[in-house]
């Protein structure tokens, strides 16, 4: 009975995901604007990244300020593997996941035991460290210039991702697959362990949960999904740039979470859309992008006191999925 309900929930999510991809695949036939496709690709990349960060922030209560290191690591590892080795794209994809996971185990092992503000700052410091390595190791990374020269052999199962439309559909598929997987994670018993740790770590430990193992596992999982977002970005920009691994990118993901809603599974994805829209509109209108964005975020934080999606869910009488009280 219980598992029947669970199964229905999964199929409903999968169906919604397929619908989204199908609709997106048709849109360019109606609106041929290239800008729209660019927007969706960037959105997919950042939404995966922001949602992955929310596994830590919203679900587990671990506020990482350096999550962008794994996004950036994804772009650089993937671009380097494609440029420097002869492996096919899917192989580079999988290898990048592996590299990210190994790095995340090492970083996580150091950070996971720290509390609150220390966790936040040490993760931030780790990202700064990685960024400075990228900047100074010019021979490998191209330093300030980033990795130029494009991504060769852009084909997956015979589909050429060098074509804008193909990359657009591909990024939508990756987004949906990533979201479905993360959705599944938060709906498992492991996902419940995350919430238990967020609510009351001591109680969780006294119910037999090995807290550090859960924290390290979710840290690595979220890093891996951030890295997938990074790879989509790498394909979009045809390489990798230091900005993609620098700390403000972590800030973007935090903004997206705050604006979209920390307590709703799709909140960070919605927040990403708002953030990118604002970004595009505001940069066109004013050079004071940072100031404008800061004011808007203040308005969200002080006015709504929650993200857009949390706000809507509560208005509809439900409890946000993350269940933050």
């Amino acid at each position: 009975m219980a598992s029947g309900m669970v199964r229905t929930r999964i199929w409903r999510d999968i169906l919604a995901g397929c619908l989204l991809v199908a609709v997106l695949a048709i849109v360019p036939a109606l609106i041929p604007a290239r800008a729209f496709q660019d927007f969706v690709i960037r959105c997919s990349s950042m939404a995966l990244f922001a949602t992955s960060l929310n596994l830590l922030v919203g679900y587990t209560g671990l506020s990482s300020f350096g999550h962008g290191m794994f996004f950036g690591l994804g772009t650089y590892s993937f671009a380097l593997l494609m440029q420097r080795t002869g492996v096919a794209l899917p192989v580079a994809f999988l290898l990048t996941l592996l590299i990210t996971a190994v790095t995340a185990v090492a970083v996580g092992a150091i950070c996971i035991r720290l509390r609150l503000i220390y966790f936040a700052f040490v993760t931030l410091a780790m990202q700064m460290l990685l960024h400075s390595v990228v900047i100074s190791w010019v021979g490998l990374t191209g330093g300030d210039q980033g990795l130029m020269g494009g991504i060769p052999r852009r084909s997956v199962l015979g589909v050429d991702l060098g074509l804008q439309y193909n990359l657009y559909v591909f990024s939508a598929v990756v987004l949906v697959a990533g979201l479905l997987l993360m959705r599944h994670i938060v709906n498992t018993a492991f996902g419940t362990s995350l919430r238990m740790i967020r609510d009351n770590e001591v109680r969780a430990a006294f119910l037999g949960i090995v807290v550090w193992r859960v924290k390290l596992t979710v840290f690595v999982l979220s890093a891996v999904f951030a890295s997938v977002g990074g790879m989509v970005m790498s394909l979009f920009v045809s390489g990798a740039y230091p900005e993609l691994i620098n700390w403000p990118i972590s800030g973007d993901a935090i903004f997206a979470i705050v604006m979209g809603g920390i307590g709703s599974f799709l909140g960070p994805a919605v927040g990403t859309m708002i953030l990118l829209l604002l970004n595009d509109v505001v940069t066109r209108q004013t050079e004071y992008y940072g100031l404008a964005l800061g004011l808007i975020i203040l308005a969200f934080a002080l006015g709504l006191r929650r993200g857009v999606l949390d706000f809507i869910t509560e208005r509809l009488g439900g409890r946000p999925a993350g269940g933050i009280s």
Binding site: A2, S3, V6, R7, R9, I10, H184, I185, N187, T188, A189, F190, G191, T192, S193, R195, M196, R198, D199, N200, V202, R203, A204, A205, F206, L207, G208, I209, V210, R213, V214, T217, R319, G322, G323, I324, S325
Partner: protein, 251 residues
């Protein structure tokens, strides 16, 4: 069932628990009494692995569990509830208990199947019923009354199907009527679940009313141990703690 030998814990210069040696026999309902700051909560924290003793030994069912992690001690069958009710405030009562049942079944790291898995819901409801929480199953635990939050905390410990349950002041912060209500539930649990139960309590009527044996802690030391009658007659306890003896009390 549980043997404590020479247990000592210092916080800086303060000896919270000093050379405590105690036995808890299987199936007993033991009250621990003692003034505030006597080290009662610290004693529970030591047994349950929240803190590591400076010296001494804790043997549970013949096995030395000194220094084991909280999770490892839970797995061996020691559950607990806290002086300040401890639960998961963003979840409903049912979700709290399902989470505890899943944790007890070792599913807490399960990334494969959806939550809750087969049987977890039903078992959680059973546990809620044992403490009369089933009517509030879908109430957000943060919104429960103080008394129900204390019950939920106990229920979480009980979801682990422990052989020994440690309750730190189950009646803390309750009015007289609510207190007896709680204590009746605790007593019923102890009878029906075949538990070895140890509870910390300040209300002497309750202690002498239900406990089958009593331990008195004072400044980290065992002042006295024995049956209620023995404790009542113990001169050291009378002097230090109970005040004037009351020979007419026949509770």
């Amino acid at each position: 069932m549980l043997r404590i030998a020479g247990l000592t814990k210092r916080f800086g210069g303060l000896t919270a628990i000093g050379d405590v040696t105690l036995d808890f026999a299987a199936g007993t309902l033991t009250a621990i009494i003692g003034p505030n700051g006597a080290g009662k909560s610290t004693f529970f924290n030591l047994i349950s692995g929240a803190i590591v003793p400076d010296s001494g030994q804790i043997v549970f069912q013949g096995e030395d569990i000194t220094g084991l992690s909280r999770a490892a001690i839970v797995r061996r069958g020691i559950g607990r509830a806290f002086q300040v009710a401890s639960f998961f405030p963003s979840m409903t009562v049912a979700e709290n208990l399902q989470a505890a049942v899943a944790a007890h079944r070792g599913q807490w790291a399960d990334l494969g199947r959806g939550f809750p898995r087969q049987g977890v819901r039903e078992r959680a409801l059973e546990v809620a019923e044992m403490l009369g929480l089933h009517d509030s199953a879908h109430v957000l635990s943060a919104n429960l009354s103080h008394g129900d939050q204390k019950l939920l905390d106990i229920a979480l410990g009980l979801a682990l199907e422990p052989s020994m349950l440690l309750l730190d002041e189950p009646t803390a912060g309750m009015g007289p009527e609510e207190r007896w209500n709680m204590i009746e539930k605790v007593q019923r649990l102890w009878r029906l679940q075949n538990l070895t139960l140890v509870f910390i309590e300040h209300d002497m009527d309750i202690v002498f009313g239900i406990a089958s044996s009593i331990r008195v802690l004072c400044y980290g030391r065992v002042l006295a141990e024995g049956t209620p009658d023995e404790i009542r007659a113990n001169p050291a306890v009378i002097e230090a703690y109970l005040g004037t003896p009351d020979p007419e009390d026949d509770a």
